[in-house]
């Protein structure tokens, strides 16, 4: 056999092998993706079909959602108010704190930073009891304002940590140039720094929104009036049959509807988010 054919055979051999590994790789990846999507897709299909009539297409469950209890819209509005307020407040507080910790000097800075991270060690489940007592004293039990304050405070350590890291990663020259141009501290924050920490802001926003939108435990403890219920509590009502006969289709439709906002937000912020969480996690 000539050297030429030997080389050619080996080449096509390795090409075939690479093709097989590639095929295997994408095959596995697609199978796993199917496993992850199956529960969601099945639920969506199921929520649009009627088991009593040979799985005929129906929008019955979604129609019923709007009349269950005060109607899903009411609870969704509560969740939206809580989630958006938590997000805005968290962004505001953590940006200010992160900026101060990373870009300014003040006495006791390290102690303040360490103190702000202390709640990392104590999960909120551990301090729910006294928080309830304090909120009762402040008259904020059964109020959405109280819930927003609780969520924002729980978001603080993670958000401040992430924002401080984001501000720290910006090179000092940017700052010097801005000072030369006579920018004030506020201008520097909004014009120079903020555009550079967008990935951090996006991550914090996504987490804060998701938390405010989907938390069960704090809402369960703080809210006892159906008028103030957020979505997770309303879904519980559907599961328990508080709003009439238990209908699994309606529960499923409700669960799907309440997933949509977070999924949409994730798809929009996705490219910032994965970068943000990786950066935040690695620098710990």
């Amino acid at each position: 056999m000539s050297t030429y054919t030997q080389v050619r055979n080996r080449l096509s051999d390795s090409r075939t092998r690479r093709l097989i590994t590639e095929f295997g790789y994408y095959g596995v990846a697609v199978l796993v993706a199917g496993a992850f999507l199956a529960p969601l897709l099945w639920s969506v299909v199921r929520s649009f079909s009627d088991p009593l009539h040979g799985w005929a297409p129906t929008s019955r469950y979604y129609d019923e959602l709007w009349t269950a209890g005060r109607g899903l819209g009411h609870y969704a509005a509560n969740s939206l108010i809580v989630a958006v307020s938590t997000t805005v407040l968290t962004l505001l507080l953590s940006t200010l704190a992160g900026y101060a910790l990373a870009r300014t000097k003040f006495p006791g800075q390290n102690i303040v930073f360490a103190a702000m991270l202390l709640p990392f060690m104590v999960p909120y489940q551990g301090i729910m009891v006294p928080i309830y007592t304090i909120m009762a004293k402040l008259g904020l039990v059964n109020s959405l304002v109280g819930l927003v304050l609780i969520y924002t405070s729980f978001m603080m350590p993670f958000s401040i940590f992430l924002m401080r890291n984001s501000f720290l990663a910006i090179p000092g020259e940017m700052e010097e140039a801005a000072i030369m141009d006579g920018a004030s501290m506020f201008q520097m924050l909004t014009r120079v720094f903020l555009p550079l920490v967008v990935p951090g802001l996006a991550t914090v926003a996504l987490y804060a929104f998701m938390y405010g939108w989907s938390d069960l435990l704090a809402a369960l403890i703080m809210l006892n009036n159906d008028r103030n219920f957020t979505l997770p509590l309303a879904l519980g009502g559907l599961q328990q049959g508080d709003y009439g006969a238990i209908d699994l289709g309606v529960l499923e439709a409700g669960a799907i509807v309440s997933m949509i906002p977070c999924i949409v937000l994730f798809l929009i912020l996705q490219r910032y988010y994965i970068r943000g969480i990786a950066a935040g996690a690695i620098k710990l």
Binding site: V32, L37, I127, L217, P232, G236, M259, I263, I282
Partner: protein, 276 residues
């Protein structure tokens, strides 16, 4: 600039921590007078057989679930760490369940495991684990494994992303050199990847263990603590004592015990994390 965040952390963390300790030393009903009872709440917790069984179950769940979660996160990270075309789509799909919300996901699975109806029940029927008529929630181990499966589906995306970021920082040449030396893929993972990502591994371990020891949503919604209260977790029990029976002093004592256990676990792991 620090004032607002310091203030909110003080009101919702500093003061609650002090109050937590004080409440745990009192008999503290929701309404009515509180009375100082010293360490009586702790003494009760020490002899409370129900609390012990709850702690045992929480530890059992953590010990079983954690390795499965970490291993699946690692395998997923191996798939998505490539910087090839289309991988971003897989990354997003595997991560998607993380963002759908714990409560909504749990309610969705309530339907998915309904006997004779739900997808998961039907799959388990084919495997021969259920008969399509009785609820799998009547069986302790089936309930636990189903909840573990749901917990993985819901949370493994975070593990994956953190490990993926760490794996991507390992230089490609190291793998090439190992390949030339004839190292197989398993060897490359255990001898090269793992030692180079210990820090992220420790972080992921910390997050996973903490999350499992504090598990609440899945059990509260899906098993409701059953069968026969055998799947009640520590936080579930704390919630029941403090906010269903309104024994808030006792609840505070239980909370402190849980926090101490967690703090010890995190301290050990943070140490590993810092070592590098």
């Amino acid at each position: 600039m620090m004032t607002p965040s310091v203030l909110i952390s003080l009101v919702f963390f500093g003061i609650p921590m002090l109050l937590l300790v004080w409440m745990s030393l009192n008999n503290w009903p929701l309404l009515g007078n509180t009375s100082f009872i010293g360490l009586a709440n702790y003494a009760e917790a020490m002899t409370d057989e129900k609390f012990h069984s709850v702690v045992r179950f929480t530890l059992l769940f953590t010990v079983i679930a954690t390795p499965v979660q970490i291993l699946s996160g690692y395998l997923l990270a191996m798939i998505v760490r490539r910087r090839a075309r289309g991988v971003g789509v897989f990354r997003a799909i595997y991560f998607l369940p993380v963002v759908v919300g714990g409560a909504a996901a749990s309610y969705m699975f309530v339907v998915l495991i309904k006997p004779g109806q739900g997808l998961i029940d039907q799959v388990l029927q084919v495997v021969g684990l259920t008969d399509g008529k009785t609820s799998l929630l009547g069986n302790f181990w089936l309930s636990v494994w189903v909840v573990i499966g749901i917990t993985i589906w819901k949370g493994v995306g975070t593990t994956m992303v953190i490990l993926m970021a760490a794996m991507q920082s390992v230089p490609e040449e190291v793998y090439e050199a190992a390949k030339v030396d004839g190292a197989g893929w398993l060897q490359r993972e255990t001898r090269i990847t793992l030692p180079l990502i210990t820090q992220s591994m420790a972080l992921v371990l910390l997050l996973t263990i903490t999350g499992n020891m504090l598990a609440f949503d899945q059990f509260f919604i899906i098993t409701g603590g059953g069968p026969a209260r055998s799947t009640v977790t520590a936080v579930f029990w704390l919630y029941t004592e403090a906010f269903v029976r309104y024994r808030m002093g006792y609840g505070a004592a239980l909370a402190i015990l849980i926090v101490i256990v967690l703090a010890i676990a995190s301290a050990i792991q943070l140490r590993v994390l810092r070592e590098k």
